[in-house]
Symmetry: D2
Subunit: 349 residues, 4 copies
Amino acid sequence: MAVQKTFRIGVIGASGYTGADVVRLAAVHPHMEIAALAARAHAGKPMGAVFPHLGLAALPDVVDVEAVDWSGLDAVFCGLPHGTAHEIISTLPESLKVVDMSADFRLRDPAVYAEWYGGPHGAADLLETAVYGLTEHYRAQIAPARLVACPGCYPTAVLLALLPLVKAGLIDASDIVIDAKSGVSGAGRGAKQGTLFSEVGEGLAPYGVAQHRHAPEIEQEISRAAGAPVVVNFTPHLVPMSRGELVTCYVRLQGKARAGELREALSAAYTDSPFVRVAVPDALPATQHVRGSNYCLVGAYDDRIEGRAIVISALDNLVKGSAGQAIQNFNLMAGLPETTGLEQLPLFP
Amino acid sequence: MAVQKTFRIGVIGASGYTGADVVRLAAVHPHMEIAALAARAHAGKPMGAVFPHLGLAALPDVVDVEAVDWSGLDAVFCGLPHGTAHEIISTLPESLKVVDMSADFRLRDPAVYAEWYGGPHGAADLLETAVYGLTEHYRAQIAPARLVACPGCYPTAVLLALLPLVKAGLIDASDIVIDAKSGVSGAGRGAKQGTLFSEVGEGLAPYGVAQHRHAPEIEQEISRAAGAPVVVNFTPHLVPMSRGELVTCYVRLQGKARAGELREALSAAYTDSPFVRVAVPDALPATQHVRGSNYCLVGAYDDRIEGRAIVISALDNLVKGSAGQAIQNFNLMAGLPETTGLEQLPLFP
Amino acid sequence: MAVQKTFRIGVIGASGYTGADVVRLAAVHPHMEIAALAARAHAGKPMGAVFPHLGLAALPDVVDVEAVDWSGLDAVFCGLPHGTAHEIISTLPESLKVVDMSADFRLRDPAVYAEWYGGPHGAADLLETAVYGLTEHYRAQIAPARLVACPGCYPTAVLLALLPLVKAGLIDASDIVIDAKSGVSGAGRGAKQGTLFSEVGEGLAPYGVAQHRHAPEIEQEISRAAGAPVVVNFTPHLVPMSRGELVTCYVRLQGKARAGELREALSAAYTDSPFVRVAVPDALPATQHVRGSNYCLVGAYDDRIEGRAIVISALDNLVKGSAGQAIQNFNLMAGLPETTGLEQLPLFP
Amino acid sequence: MAVQKTFRIGVIGASGYTGADVVRLAAVHPHMEIAALAARAHAGKPMGAVFPHLGLAALPDVVDVEAVDWSGLDAVFCGLPHGTAHEIISTLPESLKVVDMSADFRLRDPAVYAEWYGGPHGAADLLETAVYGLTEHYRAQIAPARLVACPGCYPTAVLLALLPLVKAGLIDASDIVIDAKSGVSGAGRGAKQGTLFSEVGEGLAPYGVAQHRHAPEIEQEISRAAGAPVVVNFTPHLVPMSRGELVTCYVRLQGKARAGELREALSAAYTDSPFVRVAVPDALPATQHVRGSNYCLVGAYDDRIEGRAIVISALDNLVKGSAGQAIQNFNLMAGLPETTGLEQLPLFP
């Protein structure tokens, strides 16, 4: 793709929260034109009937995925559920760039996928070609890729905080505890009793303890950085807010490292990464300070226990944790500056 | 001011929510440069120490208002509390355009100001020159103005919904009941027990019943449109959300009018107003569908009581209800397209 | 039923929020024993698997309604959806007292029921015997009744505020505007996209404008009090909180009445009603101040418009608006003091 | 104190959230009469003017603490801030039983107090006589005590979960990571910018990382149980809810222990403790399931990392974490059954 042209994009799975957030961002992206919106259950409706806030933009009506004319498109963003995503993506013309936000192409090893997602991967050949879309760590692979698998929201928060520390040998990869907290939008827009306002409002609940599907994804990348297989503790909690994700990582330091050195390593790693910011020692990342934006805040702090530290990372699960990172990846694939269309500051309060 | 240049602006009262939202929007406005941020209590701090979410932008440090070099500025946005605002604005050089978001220049009659704000207006001469900044209804006056007084958040929501109906003679201006609901950010960032999370969370409370200062402002404009003095019912309620405002107006129809004619009158009034949208009959405005944006949704519906209708209006109190409308007005004053820098779609969920 | 014995009760529809709140209150009621819990979809489960907070009490397992042995029970509370409720209640032995919280027996006129609930009433004969369970206004009828139909949550709030005023001839029954606001639990525990946390959080939305089923119920009782058919405006809104309901009623005063006289009439009406409290002139009812309790706060205030007033009423929709009032009615039916088991103060914050 | 009489109690610091929750519970306690309410800033006001929800009970007016006639009281609950609490308590007649909810008498070592609370303890002699009021672990000492220091909310949650495991030698006391999450009411009712609705709503923020004053309190008790000085990681987070606290403890198992053995140890420890419940393996403690009640839910789960486990504890910070535990302790001191007046089930939703 050449710079400066307008890219015609399609969004598959436009009726979910991640699909909708791609639309929200793409609609004001200076080099994108939304040419197709697909969502089976809503085919035939104007987008404003599916998401009233998107009714304010001029958008094509929603169609069934089978009705999309792929020939006119440059790229497709896929916000389908896992399993469904790879089925559809397998059928897309080779000429289309694909930015997938599902879980289908994140795990490099089909056996691991099969173990965690309840069955064999249906497109193992495609999987081999997919690039893991953690932008700040895989730019060189993402730019020329045809298929990019955007990381899960939790892995994005965790890996941006920990990968530079593991790579620098500052922390013990075998002793990582990750206490994760997410807003409710991460559970999707499907009608479920468990995410009703009255069930989760005014409450805080752990879920998926030691069983969450983002654990193997985190382990995959930490293991690569560590050069050895790693198992992590990963314990998510549901917070009564719609957007936002914060991970508090409890790590054991290697040698004589202290939090200050962790901060230095993070700063060095992200010097040229405008969306990852390292907090000063007396500031703490919080989700409300990145809400609605593509920024990720990371910070490192000394623990009371000698030889341990606390590394914290905050982002908006639907933006940097999904749709925003997807567009950031698209920018790279399209030869555009990485920040194009993503410069909005967080919405606070 | 000439089109296409970059305007150097200052924000006075940068430590409040409306000041901060001007900064959020101005920082990514293609024709603005934020050259000065003033807030007495925080002088000397980086903006990120006052509002962490704004620490992500490159901004000047906060200074005391006395330390601002006005000569280098093209325009000033003022987010000070009423009373303080006109004191400062009185001292500004004539060459500066001023967009005031306080209540100081909204009421045209100094006697009404004195009655509602507890004392005589301290800058009655300036008041005479101020233009009421309800953009969609005063464009011609705003464009050449030096001082624009942006309406209150509630009056913006109410007047956008009702002015066209009063002007068209479709409703009885003497029988208007306005039930208003606002998020908590409207109460400002000052530390008050009444707006603590634990006080207002999981609750709904009326306040200022028949005594709210936005009532005379609404009456001023409805009276002008009606050509006769009007008193309205205005009853605000505090909703456990940070942003958003919705007004439900109960009106008596004139002659044989029905809700359909109200919708037609609204649509006709806002044909060339991109930020005001008239809901289709089976859709209802809701604050979450305009959150973070400069849009206002209005709708009209038949009542069960013969001869009455319900007119509903929703906006984000900090954007269209304050900072966004301020920038919209600035765009007009600067000769820029009205929508410049305000195209972001709402943040949902 | 004789005083002081322990009454064995059953709860049908124990998997809904109103059923669960009956259980919560009944479990600590000094004269109740929960002998049966029925909920088709959860038959066979311990109650703690349906509602974890009720797992803290010693309760019978949930069974299918067909499996309940009615012979051992004194009374039944029914929290089923409308339509289903009367089908089941029709089959219950005559000896059982029934406190119904559904909508099935609230409307005295089967034709009105048919119009609003989409079909003919399936138990019109039973309907004739049902007593409308607005406790404070129908004590004499409730005490000896076999079947009591507890009012809807909104009608309870509205009628407690307005009935004494209509009866006293202080307000014009033909010009009543009711702006109503409710927490999300009123929409029930069924999985619906519209009540997901991410859909309603941080937002305020009207719904069912001029079409809500509580309108005819309100009109039925206001009409009886007024001695003439009355149509009211009733406009509900969904508030991002789980519990709580507040109605703001806009009324036209008769003769020279002022808000002070409304307060006097309310105080006189509720002298012997411990659960309805009239707010002093400088206090405003708010839902957070009755949360979790059986209290209803009412207040009356002068409007800015001459000859009009504002009457406000707040309650917890699941307690005084449903399960609490149901138990209050049961107490009367059982010859117990009305307040038995309902003395808990509100939970604030 | 003899059983079955009515105890006349006073509440000092009645204008704070913990004081108010003592009043809420005491007002319906069958053996308590609230005889005095003291709060300097509100002296002379009815309690309903300080806390509207308490205006529903018949209570004495608020007075200055100097105006209380101690001679007529049996016991005092103290909800004052640390520092102020011991000053007042030092002046109380010896005959009065004192249940203190401040931090002043929790730390047994005055040197530790001085280190964490910024100065020497002002009543070190009294401190020697104080009993640490973690009910389930110190019943024998609490019953005869004159002065009981109720634990902090976080320490209550943590210690109920971990003490039995440390005592049983099942976990390594030197490797404990405690990720804690609290609702906003824990920060008190004082007007602070940091706890405004708009600051903390829709957000999740860590605070006091490695510096929170509850850390030394937790360490004091874990160290006693372990028989050796222990330092723990304790990292609190602020959750957008008013009530509720959940701690997720990451522990290293001793020997071949697994989560099942932790659950067994917890169950054994709390067999006769009605307010502490051990969750079954497939259930997870959540704050919304104990809201407003005196219950604490604990659970233990195997980690993905070999040899580690996750122990979770949830309670209502104002009830079991403060006022409820205070009344539970009072019950013991008064010779009443421990559960008296505390039987209410949680308020859900």
